[in-house]
Amino acid sequence: MKVFIKYILKSMLEKKARFFLLIFAIAMSSGLFIGSMGAIDVATGSFSKTILQGFEEKEVLITTMDGDVFYNTNSIIEKGVKDLLPVLLGNAVMDNEDLTNITIHGRETKYINKDNIIEGNFWDSFKGKEAIISKRISEELNLHMGDSINIIFNGKKETLKVVGVNSNHGLFYSDQKGDFTIIAPYDFMEEMYGVNNKYNLLLANKTEDTLKESIEIFNNANKDFKASELFDEEAIENQIGQLTTYFYLMLTIVVLMSGVIIYGSFKLTITERLPVIGTFFSQGATRGNVKAILYLENILYGGIGGILGVATGMGLLYLVNYSVSPLKEYGIIESFAFNIWYGVFGLIFALILSIISCTIPILGSDGLQVKDIILNHVNTTTELGWWRFILGSIILIAVVILNLLKVTLLIELSPILLIISLIALLLVYPKIIDLFTNFLFSRLKGTLKITGLALNNIKTSKALLGNITLIIISILAIVIINSVGFSVKEAVTGAYTDINFDISITNFKGGDHTLREMLIAKLKEEPDIDGMSIHEVYVANGKVEDNNAIIIGVEPKKYREYNQYLSLKDEVYEEVYNRFENSSIKNVILSESMAKKLNVGEGDLLNMEINGLNKEFTVAGLIDGKLYYSGGFILMDSKDLKDDFKFLTSNEIFLNTTKNPEEVKKDIEKVVKEFGGSISTFEESKKINLEGNQQFINVLSIFSLMAIVIGALGAINNMLISFIQRKKELAVLSSIGMTSRQRGAMLTLESLFCVVWSMVITIPYCYLVTSILSKLTKLIGLPLDINFNIKTMPLFFMAATIMILLATIPVLLNNRKLSIIHEIKYE
C-alpha cells in the first residue's frame, strides 16, 4: 500500500496545472458551500450587533398602553425587566447648509455610561445647553471640548457646548458624518418639550432566560405599560433569507461546474495512467485494488481542496461581514466567530463532491480490457447513444408542461425544477449536436473543409462537450443574475411610475406624533403644495394568530389615488375598497399572498395583535399585492391603527406639488429637517430604491464572476484534455497532409464552435429558466416577473468567445510542439 500512496502522491504533483485546477475547483465549491451556510448568521449578527450597540445592549422596549408620547415611569412595576433606561429623545438638525441630522438623547447623568467617556469632567454639572459627542464626530466635524454646536430643534435655534467626548461605542456606535447622536442634559430636553419628569423612550434588560418570558412577566404585572422586543431578529433573518436562496442557487451552479471539471480531469488522469494501471494488473492487482488507488487519489484532492475551501469559506464570510458592516467606511468591521461546524461540513462536502465526480470515470474503467489498457488502445471518442437524449427530453418536456400549469405546489418545487431541467438539458444537447453535425457534415464536408472537421470533432470529444457544458452553465449563471437584476429594475421602475407622489418625507425618529402633526400643518400652509394630497402611511409589524404580518396604515380617501400600483381603482376592487373605506365595521384588505399565509378569505374575522394590543377585524377583500412589500401585507385604516393599537409612528408623509418638486423640496427642506424628517423627491426615492436593489445584485454578481473564473479554468483544462486525448489523431491527420496551420485552425474553430453551440442551446433554455425563476422568486417572498433579456446575449457571446480563445492559447502552443512520429510510432 505504501508504494501505491507514494505513486499517487508523485502522480498528483506531476501535472501541476491540473493539480491546481482540481484543488481550485473543489476549494471554490466547498468555500461557497460554507459561505452560503454562514452568510445568514454573519449578516444577522452584524445587523443585530449594530442595533444592540445603538440601544446599549438593551433588549426590551417599554411603551404606554394609552399611546401617550410622554410619560413618567413612577408607576412601572419592575418585574421581568431590569436596568431601566428612560430617555427624552428628540430629532434635530445642525444649523448648517447640509442640515445634518442629529438624534438627541436627553439623559440624567446616572443613565450615562461613565466608562466610555474619553474627555470631559462634567459629571456633577451636566445641565442646560451642553452636549456629549462621539470621538468619531469630534474628529469628522472638528468639534472639540468647549466648541459650540448650533442646532435647530422643534423649530428653535439653540447652541450647545461640547462638554464631553465619548468613545465610538454604545449609543454612538452608528455615528456618521451626516447623521449622528448626541447626549444632552435631561433638563434641556425637558424644557424643549415643555414636559416635567417625563420620558418618550424607555428601554430595559430582561431578567429571565428568554426575552419572551421576561416580556410576559412584565406585561402581566403592568396594566399601563407594555413591553415588547426591541427588534425582531426573525424579521431580519427572513429578509436575509431571500439572499441565501440565491446563494444556494449559485452554489448549485458552481458545484455543477466543479463536477464537470473534476470529472473531465479525472477521466484524463485515468487515461494517462492506463499503462501503469495495466502494469498493476499484470502484476496481479485486482480491479478493486486499482479503484481503491484512484479513489484514494481523489480523496486526497478532496481533502486538500476541502481544507483550502474552509479558508475560502472563511474569506467569503469575512467579505459578507465586511459588506454588511454599516460602519465599514470608518474602518469598523464587525467581528464574527466562524462556526467550526461549517468548516467540518465544508470539508465533508469537498470529499463527497470529489468522490461523486470521479465515480463515473472510475466505474467507466470497468469496461476496459486489460490487454487494451496495457497496449493503450483505449478509445477516447464516444458514440452518443439515444437513451440520454430520450430521458433528458422526457424530463425537459415534463418540466416545460409543469411550468405552464398554474399549480401552487410548483412554486415550492421550483428550485428542483430548475436543477432537473438543467441536468436534462445537459443530457439532451450532445445528441442534438450529433444529429445536426451529421446532417451538416454529410452535405457540406467538401465545402466546409477544416471547418467541417472541427464541427465533427465536437460531437465525439467528451472534453469538448464538457467545454460546452461549462460555457452553458457559466452563461446561465450570468443570465440568471442579469435577468434578476434587470427584472428588479423593471419592477421598481414600473412600480414607481404608478405611485403618485411628488415628495416624500420620512425617517422620523422618536415617537412624537405631535411634532409630525405640526409639520403637516406647516406643509399645508405652503402655497406650492397641494394640501389635499398630503397623507401619511404607517407601517407596523403585527401578529395574526402567531403569524408575523406587515400592517400598512393608510388614509383610505387618499390612498387609492396615491397607490395606483395596486390598481385599487380597478372595477374588480371597487366593491372591496368601498367596504374598506365606508363600512361601519372595522375591516382590512389583505394581499392575496398574506391571505394565503393566514389561510383566510373575504368576510373572515382576523384577531390582530399590534403593539401588544388585540382587536378583531373583518377581511373586506383580497387584492393582488404584486411586489408591494414583497406581496404580503394588510391594509388598515390608519385611524384604527392609531386608535385601537396606539400605533402613532407614521413611516412616511407623501404629498403632491403644484410646481417643480425640486424647487418645492428646496423651499421646505429646512422646515422638514427641523422637525426631524428627511425629504426626497419622487425621482430621488426611485433612485435610492434602485441603488438598494443594485447592491443586492452586486453581491450576487460575485457568484457569476466565480462561475466565469471556474468556467475559464475548466475550459483551459478541457481544451488540453481534448488535445492530449487526440494527439495521435492529430498526428495521423498530419501524416496524410494536414499542415500545422490547418491543425491550429481546426483547434481554434473547435473552440469557437463550442461557444456557438453553447449559445444556441442556452438561449431557448433561458426562457424556461427565467420562467421557473419567476416561480422561485415567489417562493422566497420576492415575487418578480423575471424576463430574459435577450439583448444581452451578444455581449455574453463576445465575452465567452474571448474566454474560450484565451483558453485555446495553451493548446495552440502545445500543437506547435506536436511530434508526429512520437504519436504514431508503435515500437
Binding site: K449, I450, N456, L733, S735, Q742, I821, I824, Y826
Partner: protein
C-alpha cells in the same frame, strides 16, 4: 526514373545522455513503379527510415529526394502538401480517424486540400470496389475488423493518386489470411496502377510480395537485391 533517392543518410537520437545512431550512411534509390521491401530485426531503424522518406522526420545528415525534390529544402507546409498529394501512408495500426465514416476517412486528404468531393465520387467508388469496402462505406472504423480498417487506410492512401505509397508494417496487426489478402492488394496496386510502394516489415513472407528487398541491420544496409517472382 527514380522515385526516391537516399544519399549518405544518418539519423541519431538522444537517449538520456547517450547519442544513439539509428541509421548510418544509407545510400540507395527506388525506381518508379517498383515495390521495395525493407526488412530487418526490431530496432534496426526500418520505421525511422520510412518516416524520413515520408518527410515526417528530419535526418541528422544526408539527403532524401522524392521525385527529385530534396526534402531538406522544403518547408513544413510544402512537406505537408507533398504528403497529401504525392505520398500515401499506410500504418500498422491503420490510424483511421475514429469519428469519421469509411468514406470520409478515405476522402480526408481531399477535404484537407479543399477539393470538390463530387469530382472524386467516381474515384471513391473505384477505390471502395478495389478494396472491397463498398458495403461498409457509411460505417465508422470501430465497426470494422482489422483487415477492413487496413483496406480503408489503403484506399485513403490512394485517393489522391500519389506516386509513392509508404507502408509501415501494413499487416503486422492482422491474421495471416487477412494479411495475405492485403499484400495481394498491394501487389495489384503496384502492378496495375504502377505505384511505387515501399514497405517495412518483419515478415519474410510479405517482403516477398515486393520487387526488391533492402536488408537493414543496426542501421546499415546489409544487402539490396531484386526479388525474382
Amino acid at each position: 526514373m527514380k522515385s526516391i533517392t537516399v544519399e549518405n543518410l544518418y539519423k541519431s537520437f538522444k537517449v538520456g545522455k547517450d547519442n544513439v545512431e539509428v541509421l548510418k550512411n544509407l545510400t540507395f534509390s527506388v525506381e518508379k513503379g517498383s515495390f521495395l521491401s525493407i526488412m530487418g530485426p526490431s530496432g534496426c531503424g526500418k520505421s525511422t527510415l520510412l518516416y524520413l522518406l515520408g518527410g515526417l522526420d528530419k535526418p541528422t545528415s544526408g539527403k532524401v529526394l522524392i521525385n527529385e525534390k530534396d526534402l531538406s529544402t522544403l518547408k513544413e507546409k510544402q512537406k505537408s502538401l507533398m504528403r497529401r498529394k504525392e505520398i500515401g501512408f499506410v500504418f500498422q495500426f491503420y490510424n483511421l480517424v475514429p469519428n469519421l465514416s469509411v468514406e470520409d476517412n478515405i476522402m480526408l486528404p481531399l477535404i484537407l486540400d479543399g477539393k470538390k468531393l463530387k469530382d472524386y465520387e467516381e474515384k471513391l467508388k473505384e477505390l471502395l470496389d478495389i478494396t472491397g469496402m463498398s458495403h461498409k462505406r457509411k460505417v465508422t472504423p470501430r465497426e470494422l475488423s482489422g483487415g477492413q480498417q487496413q483496406r480503408v487506410a489503403i484506399a485513403r492512401a490512394l485517393i489522391f493518386e500519389p506516386e509513392i505509397i509508404l507502408l509501415d508494417e501494413p499487416i503486422g496487426n492482422l491474421d495471416s489470411k487477412s494479411g495475405n489478402d492485403i499484400m495481394k492488394l498491394f501487389k495489384r496496386i503496384n502492378k496495375d496502377m504502377g505505384k511505387t510502394l515501399i514497405q517495412v516489415t518483419h515478415s519474410h513472407e510479405s517482403a516477398m510480395f515486393g520487387t526488391s528487398l533492402l536488408d537493414l541491420k543496426d542501421g546499415e544496409v546489409v544487402s539490396q537485391k531484386e526479388i525474382v517472382c
